[in-house]
């Protein structure tokens, strides 16, 4: 059970790191009114495939994602895992690049971007080289320190809320289906949940508790969008790049000695994002390691570090980040849909084989 807690914390923390920045902007851009519908649609989608994915993994009997795929043979596994691997690389590039941009926008406006990116990546890479247990233990520590702070600031962000901005509740003609930003918003879901397939041999968890945790962070998804909407109204909130961060800047707490509590919130979230980056980096190193067993993990991580960092350096502007996001959409669908479905199919097969083996062993 205690092990399960670690997994849950990683799930919560990595999502928190992703929710509060790009996600509100994408959802606000995807609809003019009744934003809860796209939020819930996205969430239901995530929830369903999360369940399928975990079901498949548990049927596979505690094997990790790569081993499940490898049962199909090396070539097939390589073909199926290649998009996942590419997705991991791109997620790391996008995350590091966009979060360092956020850091420059919000506080370190004088520090050159490459230095921020280097720092934002060096620590996660180091953590990843120390292995999954280190990442999980670090998550526990960070969560214990930062989660209360994040929750406090989250609650105080309701300070300027005017609930009447919730109306109109329903849009008569929903068009979020054909807006690209709705599909971009799935970034917040797709990034992290795959880790559940990589930690299997090291940590165990119960499907039901993970699903409850997912439901538990649904309010964060909702209010990361609704707090800016309720403070400013849709027509104002849609003019911002990071609506939630801007809203945080409005908080006025006289008895607190700090004037800009945004900084604390962002610091915590950036630590969460670092954990996320290290987790994704570790996962991609696991994939490479399985196909190339002779290579040392540290060397793999070093190589990936160089590739990803070079990728980060080639992205010059925010527009290019957005473009990467859009290119990424196709692989994201692969990760969100195809991977859970194939894992489910493979899990069932593995279960059947295992059952057959038991039968053959002469029970």
């Amino acid at each position: 059970m205690a092990r399960s807690l670690h997994v849950l914390l990683v799930y919560v923390v990595t999502h928190l790191g992703l929710i509060f920045f790009m996600y509100p902007e994408d959802i606000i851009a995807s609809a003019d009114e009744g934003h809860w519908v796209p939020i819930l649609t996205g969430f239901a989608f995530h929830f369903a495939f999360l369940w399928i994915y975990m079901k498949g993994l548990s049927r596979g009997g505690g094997k990790d994602l790569t081993s499940l795929y490898l049962e199909l043979g090396k070539v097939a596994a390589a073909l199926l895992l290649l998009p996942v691997f590419v997705y991991f690389l791109m997620v790391n590039i996008i995350t590091i690049r966009s979060y360092s941009e956020i850091i420059t926008i919000v506080f370190l406006s004088n520090t050159p971007l490459w230095a921020i990116m280097l720092l934002l990546f060096l620590i996660p890479a180091w953590m990843a080289s120390l292995g999954i247990r280190t990442i999980f233990r670090a998550t526990f520590l960070v969560a214990a320190v930062c989660l209360p702070l994040v929750l406090f600031i989250f609650v105080s962000s309701f300070q300027n809320v005017d609930w009447r901005y919730v109306y109109p509740l329903l849009d008569k003609h929903y068009t979020f289906w054909n807006r690209i930003s709705f599909y971009k918003s799935f970034f917040a879901y797709a990034g992290s949940f795959l880790f559940l397939g990589f930690v299997q041999p090291y940590f165990s968890y119960r499907i039901r508790t993970v699903l409850w945790t997912a439901v538990g962070i649904l309010p964060l998804f909702l209010f990361s969008v609704y707090v800016p909407l309720l403070t400013f109204g849709e027509s104002t909130a849609s003019t911002f790049f990071f609506p939630y961060v801007v809203t945080l800047d409005m908080i006025q707490i006289n008895w607190l000695m700090f004037e800009r509590i945004t900084v604390f919130f962002l610091m915590s979230l950036i630590i969460f994002v670092m954990l996320f980056v290290s987790l994704v980096l570790w996962q991609s190193s696991q994939i490479v390691g399985r196909f190339w067993p002779k290579a040392k993990t540290n060397w793999i991580i070093g190589g990936l570090f160089v590739v990803i960092f070079a990728g980060c350096l080639t992205v010059r502007s925010w527009n290019e980040v957005e473009r990467l996001f859009i290119w990424n959409t196709w692989i994201r669908w692969y990760v969100l849909i195809v991977v859970p479905l194939t894992v489910y199919a493979l899990g069932r097969r593995a279960e059947r084989d295992a059952g057959g083996d038991r039968y053959a062993a002469g029970r």
């Binding site: 003019d32 009114e33 926008i105 919000v106 506080f107 370190l108 406006s109 004088n110 520090t111 050159p112 230095a115 720092l119 060096l122 620590i123 005017d162 009447r164 901005y165 919730v166 109306y167 109109p168 509740l169 849009d171 008569k172 400013f232 109204g233 027509s235 104002t236 003019t239 911002f240 801007v246 800047d249 409005m250 006025q252 006289n254 004037e259 800009r260």
Partner: protein
């Protein structure tokens, strides 16, 4: 060996991540607290009030520059000063009324966009030319250094008849369909630092009208910021507002929006003219507030500025397309029935008849 490398790398991270890249020390920075934006024949004239410590006292320096953009003007000031101007601690934005009448949307777009100006800074309009305003203010300022913004801060010298509006609220008024703001108007005073003249009524980031301090008090009461405001009744008695509750009911009948507002106000008696009864005070106060509201509302309605944010109560009744035209289509036809109910909570130490 590996340990040593690790420590060196860690130490390098520590030094690099301290946020001190290209850092300038505090004594090489100027941190203005007030920014004035005047109108100089179409260009902006930017004033900065910079506090400077001199012999353990604060002296105030005022600098100004003209240019087409604010950034350029600030840059010019920075160029001519021996220190770098840093707008991080800006607390108050003073805008000349001519600028405000022309429209503030560009200006507030800039304030929200730039990273170093806090969106919590207060916005104030000045009727006086800013040059003479700052000269007068500087003259009557105490040598220990008072801050102009203390006049407006809620935890300092703010009074309930002063509207309190921040940058982000004006920005919201520029974009929001159903919400506007009131901004205080000041000029430099004779015996005091500044003199409060009332409030400017903003519509879509444009100054379109004015209300006087008494009306501003009612406005603040209505929006729930009345903290101990005093009201004069029957020209010799006065009361202090203690608690206010506003109930609003809204609807649309035959395409015409209507609204019933009931304001329950609890007051403490302060001054009572001989020969006046409590009942008279209550009745007169209720009537006074009703009259004042109706007069003020008729005016802001004619100016099509929704400073009371009444449109917020129609968000669930009107579709979004209609809300977009709220200020021009439905708001001018809005019928408001305003009714005040007064309860006098106590009479202080002295009995009243």
């Amino acid at each position: 060996m590996r340990q040593a490398v690790k420590w060196i790398v860690l130490f390098g991270i520590l030094t690099a991540s301290s946020g001190c890249w290209d850092n300038k020390d505090i004594n090489h920075r100027s941190l203005p607290v007030v920014m004035g934006i005047g109108d100089a024949a179409g260009d902006y004239e930017v004033f900065l009030q910079i506090p400077e410590p001199v012999d353990s006292k604060m002296r105030v320096k005022i600098v100004s520059e003209k240019d087409k953009t604010i950034t350029k003007a600030v840059d010019k000031i920075s160029e001519n000063l021996e220190t770098q101007v840093d707008l991080l601690h800006l607390k108050l934005i003073l805008i000349h009324s001519r600028c405000a009448e022309r429209g503030l949307d560009n200006l507030f777009d800039f304030f929200m966009r730039v990273r170093d100006i806090s969106p919590k800074a207060l916005v104030v309009i000045s009727d006086e030319e800013l040059g003479s305003f700052f000269r007068n203010v500087q003259r009557s300022m105490k040598p220990t250094g008072t801050n102009l913004n203390d006049f407006f801060e809620k935890n300092a010298g703010w009074n309930p008849q002063i509207a309190l509006t921040r940058i982000w609220q004006v920005y919201r008024s520029v974009h929001s369909f159903t919400r506007d703001v009131a901004v205080p108007i000041v000029k430099s005073g004779k015996s005091t630092l500044i003199e409060h003249m009332g409030s400017g009524v903003i519509r879509n980031g444009k100054l379109v009208g004015r209300i006087d301090p008494d009306e501003t008090l009612l406005f603040n009461t209505f929006t729930g910021q009345s903290g101990q405001g005093k009201i004069e009744v029957l020209n010799r008695s006065s009361v202090m507002i203690d608690q206010v509750r506003v109930h609003r009911r809204s609807g649309i009948i035959g395409g015409v929006p209507w609204m019933n507002v009931r304001m329950d106000i609890t007051v403490n008696l302060l001054e009572l003219r001989q020969g006046t009864t409590i009942e008279e005070v209550k009745k007169e106060l209720a009537e006074l507030l009703d009259r004042r509201f109706e007069r003020m509302f008729a005016r802001v309605q004619a100016e099509r500025s929704d400073i009371f944010a009444l449109g917020q109560h129609f968000r669930n009744l009107l579709p979004r397309d209609r809300l977009r035209e709220w200020r021009d289509r439905d708001y001018p036809r809005l019928k408001v029935d305003f009714k005040t109910y007064v309860v006098i909570e106590d009479y202080g130490h002295v009995k009243a008849n």
